[in-house]
Symmetry: C2
Subunit: 132 residues, 2 copies
């Protein structure tokens, strides 16, 4: 299902994260969206999510590059569950590169038709089990 | 978040699967729900989902017992993503028992308030990646 419109939406959102353009990034989230920051910590609403991404950028030394791997979309009406390999490339102050691969789960809602918004952003996927 | 109302909802749905009471089971699904039967096969709508559960019961020799393990609920307004350990106990014609543990992902919608319906049922979770 790689041709699902959500593929382009997620690519554009990840580009905004990589470019630290968080105003553009907020356009991809619903007003009541929830972001899992860490297994025991969530941000709800655009204000909290914006602040979380500022902190995440700082945490990764402003080096974060987000890339997409394999993607599956399971759709039911105006709701879609996305199962996706997400690759995070980072480098530390000494320039040492790291690569983190996550098996993420995202819930999107199409509202209005043709406009998909992220309502739940859980990049940890099922790794939440046993993580707390 | 084990005290979320969805815990009881999912327990009741799994009891209906175990008892092969598929009429009762259908009450837990939205009309446009999607069930992942196998990584490359989905059922959409109650008629298809009902038939899928009849076939699943047959496949497991009418021995299927579904139990819940650890559960996390990530909620955004009237939408919830459930990350859950689901245990399937079965036995074959010779009485040999098997136990399958899955890290499932379910999307529920609360509509109207207080009534949660399953819109996406993906018991394979992120194991869909690399499965096709």
């Amino acid at each position: 299902m790689a041709c699902h419109p959500l593929k382009q939406v997620i690519e554009a959102a990840d580009k905004a994260i990589t470019e630290e353009d968080f105003d553009a990034l907020m356009e991809f989230y619903a007003d009541d969206a929830t972001l899992v920051i860490k297994p025991d910590l969530v941000a709800t609403g655009k204000e909290q999510i914006y602040k979380a991404f500022v902190a995440i950028a700082e945490y990764f030394n402003h080096s974060l590059v987000v890339k997409q791997g394999e993607m599956h979309v399971i759709q039911s009406g105006n709701t879609a569950l996305v199962i996706m390999e997400t690759v995070l490339e980072t480098s530390d102050n000494a320039g040492v590169a790291s690569c983190i691969s996550r098996r993420a789960t995202y819930v999107f809602r199409e509202e209005p038709v043709g406009k998909w918004l992220c309502v739940i952003d859980n990049s940890y996927g099922t790794d939440l089990l046993g993580a707390m």
